[in-house]
């Protein structure tokens, strides 16, 4: 099968409109083979729409899309045989048993995984002869995951795979995703949980109101790794902040310094503290969490409204914070 080397999925200028609502508004990204790619965004951002276009379920209004070298719009069977899909809402025939459903779906693929192996993988081996209608919600969901991987897919789509899971079930699902990834599969997962994206994804695109507003490894998303840190402390009651060696501002009853060079600022502050004999009470250094970045990136505007210019985030500094930034003069 001829296909462009190391790229599993490439999306360029993807657009999709439902009536008056443009749900996906010019989305572009690439996913390398073997990568775990996260599409992170709030409800209604357009994650499911985008993924369903890649799966070949939905047509698109504009854009170039390649999935394992195919254009999914024509739903080529060879493509469907090589991808695995776990939908946001699970659905399995109620009147068949776990084994029957797995066996039936296995017959759709040229080289399926053994049914017993899949039942084992999703923890349903003991329930193989139970009718689907008798399974709990979580068990049905796991069976759905089993159907997603029964065809030995090279590329797996997981649409909000852990929404509604309890913490234990979530960890189980995460372990499964990791083992599938270790097995060499490329994985595209959507989620609105930051911790999930951080735990699983090699790379994340944050999508809000149909547009990608940031992209990168979770650790550096939105310039998280290079953006300013916040140093916070209190001074004893009788001390004024005017004699401090750096400009500070008050946040509640704390003093705060925002800086991209926390080492130097710390050095200045602690040096001053020791020299003056004034303690820095409750001193803390904090970086943006992924959650901070995510909330900023996806904040504001109704679904379908205009999005803040993504360019404002390009230098990694969330808009509106630059005034408070202070970098020691060289």
């Amino acid at each position: 099968m001829a296909e462009p080397g190391a790229t599993a999925v490439s999306v360029q200028g993807l657009r999709k409109r439902y009536g008056d609502l443009e749900a996906v508004r010019g989305v572009s990204f690439q996913v390398a083979r073997g990568e775990v790619f996260g599409l992170l965004g709030p409800n209604g951002a357009g994650k499911t729409t985008a993924v369903e276009i890649l799966e070949g379920f939905r047509g698109r209004d504009a854009g170039e899309v390649r999935v394992l070298g195919y254009d999914p719009a024509s739903r080529p069977r060879a493509l469907r045989e090589r991808i695995g899909i776990v939908l946001q809402e699970c659905a399995v025939e109620p009147y068949l048993t776990v084994r029957e459903v797995l066996r039936r779906n296995a017959s759709y693929y040229p080289a399926p995984r053994p049914v017993a192996e899949v039942a084992e993988l999703v923890g349903l081996a003991a329930m193989a002869d139970v009718k689907v209608a008798k399974l709990s919600g979580g068990q049905q969901r796991r069976l759905d995951v089993g159907l997603g991987i029964i065809g030995r897919p090279e590329l797996i789509f997981l649409d909000e795979p852990t929404t509604g899971f309890d913490p234990t079930a979530r960890r189980g699902a995460w372990d499964l995703v990791r083992s599938l990834s270790d097995g060499g599969a490329t994985i595209i997962l959507t989620t609105h949980y930051m911790d999930e994206a951080e735990a699983l994804a090699d790379r994340v695109a944050v999508i809000a109101r149909g547009q990608i507003v940031a992209e990168g490894p979770p650790s550096s998303l939105g310039g998280r790794d290079v953006s300013e840190a916040k140093l916070r402390f209190r001074l004893p009651e009788d001390c004024s902040s005017t004699s401090l060696p750096v400009p500070v501002h008050e946040v509640g009853d704390l003093l705060e310094v925002a800086t991209t060079d926390e080492v130097e600022v710390l050095h200045l502050l602690t040096g001053w503290s020791l020299a003056e004999g004034v303690p820095l009470l409750g001193l803390s250094v904090e970086r943006l969490t992924l959650e901070d970045v995510y909330l900023r990136l996806t904040a504001g505007g109704d679904a379908g409204g205009t999005v803040g210019a993504p360019g404002a985030l390009a230098d990694g500094v969330p808009a509106g914070r630059s005034a408070e930034r202070w970098t020691p003069a060289p």
Partner: protein, 273 residues
């Protein structure tokens, strides 16, 4: 041009591919059958209902004769009538409701995303309906023959043709009606009610007098014509033709219209409410 695209379209199912797909139809048929017979309500409504009605109606007047049907024993009319009912119930009523349920619960979406070709899926559904219809007709004929002494047709081919046309056309009608039903909750009321009104108008429970206004109305709908087409092979002992070509033609026209509606309106995902 991207080489992937070429290989994506240049793979028509033929030779070993076709054999593989026909095997897939057989496999899928097996699971369609399991799902049908395990869905007690649907199976009872389709198969059980016709058997019970045949027994009740015939037992209450099995040996009476009716002028409207050429002085035949009434049971001789009900047996083919309920055989036709069974076909319509399996294909229109049951399939229509099942498709709405599968669409609204996301089962159709799942199938659409799997590699199974659409024609394999619908081929299996059609074959499954044919199996149900055959089982049903065999059951009714056995009961009719051994409980009430119904005279069986000597033109079995005519009965088989009526059965095939009935299965295909009413399956198309079942798919078509499923596309106009907006939700799971309204599937039963809309589909079953329309079915029973037509059955009532079409002489299933009491033979229609030729030229009556009821006969004129039901003449426009396919239900009456399928009943007539099932009746004809039994009637041939009286000298009438066992091949009800006109009636089968009307059923086929309905089937064709239904197919167009079904293909145009078919949806694989739940309706948004």
């Amino acid at each position: 041009m991207d080489p992937g695209t070429v290989s994506a379209i240049a793979a028509p199912a033929s030779g070993p591919g076709l054999v593989r797909d026909l095997r897939l139809v057989a496999r899928q048929l097996r699971y369609e059958q399991l799902a049908f017979w395990r869905n007690r309500t649907g199976a009872l409504f389709t198969v059980g209902f016709s058997v019970i009605f045949l027994l009740l109606l015939s037992a209450s007047g099995a040996n009476q004769r009716s002028n409207v049907i050429g002085n035949l024993k009434i049971v001789q009319y009900y047996t083919p009538g309920f055989a036709a009912y069974g076909v319509m119930s399996a294909c229109y009523n049951n399939l229509g409701i099942v498709l709405v349920v599968r669409r609204e619960t996301g089962l159709l979406k799942r199938l659409r995303l799997s590699p199974i070709p659409t024609w394999v899926l619908f081929g299996a559904i059609l074959a499954s309906n044919a199996v149900i219809a055959l089982v049903q007709v065999a059951l009714l004929l056995l009961i009719g023959r051994f409980a009430f002494g119904v005279v069986l047709p000597d033109q079995w081919a005519a009965l088989l043709l009526a059965l095939l046309v009935g299965v295909v056309c009413f399956s198309a009608l079942g798919v078509a009606i499923s596309t106009v039903v907006p939700s799971q909750d309204s599937a039963g009321p809309i589909i079953s009610l329309s079915f029973f009104v037509l059955l009532f108008l079409s002489g299933l429970w009491f033979p229609l007098k030729a030229g009556s206004s009821l006969a004129k109305i039901s003449n426009y709908f396919p239900v009456h014509h399928l009943i007539v087409a099932f009746f004809a092979p039994f009637e041939s002992k009286l000298g009438a033709s066992p091949w009800a070509w006109g009636d089968l033609g009307t059923v086929a026209i309905w089937g064709a219209i239904a197919t167009i509606i079904a293909v145009r309106r078919f949806a694989w995902e739940p309706r948004r409410h």
